[in-house]
């Protein structure tokens, strides 16, 4: 499995874990389970993880596929600089976030899934991967070379319409010389 970027799978797994943590937390709070405080924490943690993981990283090789509407999230995540760029930080962050989820049944599944995502991120970090934002490409326009001169502002001078009209019966007589020379500006 030489060319795989583990971070891509870790990202999918972490996003799924965030959703599972969020769902478990909502169930725990709505059902007023014992230990609902852990469930409330899970709701917040789930939302945070989802926001962090939603923007996909740019792949080092190949085309990156964005998630729809991820641009604003990319900007937010990019603002944290090295904290979000480095996958070691993410691995430890997810490992730390998932721990309180283990104290309540409703959030245990989210906790384990996030733990697995953390492990995959660790593998990605060890292999030297890092998060790159997907930004819209700026079009680089070629500078206009000097050989193109300014286009003319006025139409070329022409004699009036009667003289210009083609006289089919007398082609010889219809030819005329332009009164003003029509050559390039010197």
């Amino acid at each position: 499995m030489g060319k795989i970027e583990w971070a891509m799978w870790a990202n999918e797994q972490a996003l799924a874990s965030g959703l599972i943590l969020l769902t478990g937390g909502i169930v725990g709070v709505a059902g007023q389970f014992r230990g609902w405080q852990f469930a409330a924490y899970a709701v917040a943690a789930g939302v945070f993880v989802c926001l962090l993981e939603y923007p996909r990283s740019k792949r080092s090789k190949g085309t990156s596929v964005e998630r729809s509407g991820q641009y604003c999230f990319t900007v937010c995540v990019k603002a944290f600089g090295p904290l979000t760029r480095n996958y070691y930080v993410r691995a430890f962050l997810h490992a730390a976030i998932c721990v309180p989820g283990g104290f309540m049944l409703a959030t245990v599944l989210g906790c384990v899934c996030l733990g697995i995502a953390s492990l995959i991120y660790l593998v990605a970090a060890i292999r030297g991967e890092h998060w790159e934002p997907i930004l819209p490409r700026k079009e680089v326009r070629k500078p206009i070379t000097e050989s193109i001169k300014n286009p003319p502002q006025n139409p070329p001078p022409r004699p009036p319409a009667e003289i210009r009209r083609k006289r089919v019966d007398d082609l010889e007589g219809a030819a005329y010389d332009n009164p003003i020379s029509v050559t390039d500006n010197e």
């Binding site: 499995m1 891509m8 799978w9 478990g24 283990g102 049944l105 245990v108 599944l109």
Partner: protein
Amino acid sequence: MGNFAANEGLSVFVILVWLGINAFLFVQFYMAFLVERWFYTRVLLGQALSWARAPAACLNFNCMLILLPVCRNLLTLLRGSIQCCSRTAARQLDRNLTFHKLVAYMIAFHTAVHIVAHLFNFEYFMDAQLNRNSSLLPFILSEIGTGDNASFLNPIRSNETNPTIVMFTTIAGLTGVAITLALILIITSSMEVIRRSYFEVFWYTHHLFVIFFIGLVFHGFGRIVRGQTAASLKTNIPDVCADQFEDWGTNGSNCAVPEFAGNPPMTWKWVVGPMILYVCERLVRIYRSHQKVVITKVVMHPSKTLELQMKRKGFHMEVGQYVFIQCPSVSRLEWHPFTLTSAPEEDYFSAHIRIVGDWTQALYEACVGDKTEPQEAWKLPRLAIDGPFGTASEDVFRYEVVMLVGAGIGVTPFASILKSVWYKRIQNNQDVFTKKIYFYWLCPETEAFEWFADLLQSLEGQMTEKGMTDFLSYNIYLTRWKETEAAHFRVHHEAENDPITGLKQKTLYGKPNWDNEFTNIESKHPGTKAGVFLCGPPALGKSLEKQCLSHSEADVKFIFNKENF
């Protein structure tokens, strides 16, 4: 609208039947737990009991279904036998992967409902043990069976525990966690992004389904969901006795203490059949892989395309079929699908493989490497072939008018068809049902033309010889080019043969105007059923499908067939 029914009718019908069965099972099993037998269980759990059991039944049904669409050999067998009766039904079997994914999503959905309901169940069971007040019915019910540990109702047997510990100490809980984790890992690694980029991760992780099915079968062995036994229902009628719970079993009361037992596990009955079928499928694949495959010729084409010509004893193929190729020296577990590019009339079979990923690159190095002089035959790697498996292209000769559209390497199944056409019509002079073929090849780069252009050139020559130039009408579209190339084309525009392919038919630039093409064909062939065959990207498929639906009016019907890996 009529053509929508012809194209999609059977699919819609199958989906509706499947959804209907799901809904039916859900409601049926929901109601099954509202009967008297479960009265006391519902005192503890309320509606959450039914909400957990109903998706469980749907899960049994869907887990039974999910293995079936991936039994390729079984499907090819079915396809062969159905084809004589109904072409539409046979086409339905081409959508097996789509159905597999739909069933997988349904499994994920029902798992979610099942888990949420059980979260509530665990909480209610725990509540019953924690509120240790003899004047509460739930507590009295939880105390039943403390002596013999057999006739109890509440699976949580003491108040010195918590739901998480209980989950990890029961069979149902442990297997539940294991199979849910397996399911989540399978789903996240099957996302399109991962699947298309790193097939290996997807393939290996998908084998967690073995853990899933084993866990699923053992999930109900703990008999943790308990209802009143039939014998006990005679001595303790819930409607009457529920209010007199403080007097149960005492002298003078006509209500005995109720006894409970769990249902026997049911899941194995649902999944054992498909599991056996799948095991047979894998055995067939292993058997086929041990049959000796000899590589007779290796050709390296431009645009990083490798052609392998092979022979295997007893190999028989139809047009447009595909095989799975395994190369043990590259990877023992990976089987990758490739369309066969040879015709059935030839004495060898071949595949054109584009070098894009790990496996194909390693295969290239094993077969060719950097050697420029001819290889010894015994140095070539051993291969295993599974197949051939049939897909949509087999149907080509059943239509009177055929439109073949291939994008890039997607032209490979049509190479097989065109070669077969050449052999049949021109060599054997057989009469084929197909009267006219319109062939469209969309390609982003010029080198990719080379191996296929040779085929087209020979076809062109043969057809001119026999005077049958109007049988095949082909159009090649170059969709991307560089400025230097464009200058070259412009200069050679007037030449008799095309500057890129060397064919008499000129290459066209850009993308085809499908509306015009369809209208053109429609006007030339009124009153026929035209088959449209595509092997290419989904976006192209969508636009072609739309064109098929919009152009199928009263007399001409365009039937769309898509082939995709």
